[in-house]
Symmetry: C2
Subunit: 168 residues, 2 copies
């Protein structure tokens, strides 16, 4: 398979979201087994002004769907940030993966030079499609997946790098 | 710039290593200002069986140079894991960036189907070049950069996502 905008994005997001979904199962089982209030994990942060575990998962979803949609020239669907509990977070990941599965390679390939504008509260970021994917979407996606993992590890969940990487 | 194996790897590693180098400066200044023993940050972990901050930086370097070398068909140079202190870690990042700077696009482009073998202690992993970059090298690289960032945040360093992302 050649290096294309599709091959660099959709399969990567899908794999790492699938791995995160398995980690959510492990976290739910760990909470039950150790009589830990699930909220103690779901609301955990690595520092008081960092985001919670739940928000890290939501943002991993957002960066994946944002890339899949914007590279195809579409506005990303809005997913409300209302998930409570591991099951609902898994459902959000499943919805995100369904969106990735529906992405058509022919609409994403060739988007290297597509102009992508992200309007933020204080400024608008403008990227080429290639910069958007490689310098913004993938780094942000992995930032949030890794931080979600780190929050669970910090709270004692016995997982390792193999769970982050999945089957390789 | 088209999506090529070079454009997806070398500029990404370079940018995020440069950002990490700036974060190291901030950590060193923070330790000095707050009279924190630098070792308290350098040896910090998010959990007793996780790796230290110093190891996270060394591994970010390793995954970047591993990708740059292996995609070109070369064995990666060995960097001994001997760094003590922020200055030496910055020097290691600088050496890694110098290696990235010397990477020749024409040797990396077209490596999608190159067979990459990684011999581990218990098994040998075999990838195509494209899988190796997108499913292994970049995820591992961002895993260690993010965990380094998370360790410093957890220890109170006042940085934010902008420092992770750098100038965008």
């Amino acid at each position: 398979m050649p290096a294309t905008m599709y091959s660099l994005s959709i399969p990567v997001f899908r794999k790492y979201l699938s791995n995160l979904s398995v980690i959510l199962d492990k976290a739910a089982a760990y909470a039950e087994e150790r009589k830990i209030d699930p909220a103690a994990l779901l609301d955990a942060r690595l520092y008081p002004d960092m985001l919670t575990f739940t928000r890290q998962v939501q943002l991993a979803s957002d960066f994946a769907k944002g890339a899949a949609s914007r590279l195809a020239g579409d506005a990303p669907p809005k997913f409300d940030d209302v998930e409570v509990g591991f099951a609902q977070l898994k459902e959000r990941i499943a919805r995100t993966i369904a969106l990735l599965d529906s992405a058509r390679p022919e609409r994403i390939d060739g988007s290297e030079e597509r102009q992508i504008e992200l309007k933020g509260p204080t400024r608008t970021l403008t990227f080429s499609g290639l910069e958007f994917l490689t310098q913004f979407s993938l780094p942000n996606f992995f930032f949030h997946v890794t931080t979600a993992y780190a929050i669970l590890r910090h709270n004692g969940l016995p997982i390792g790098k193999d769970n982050f990487l999945g089957r390789i």
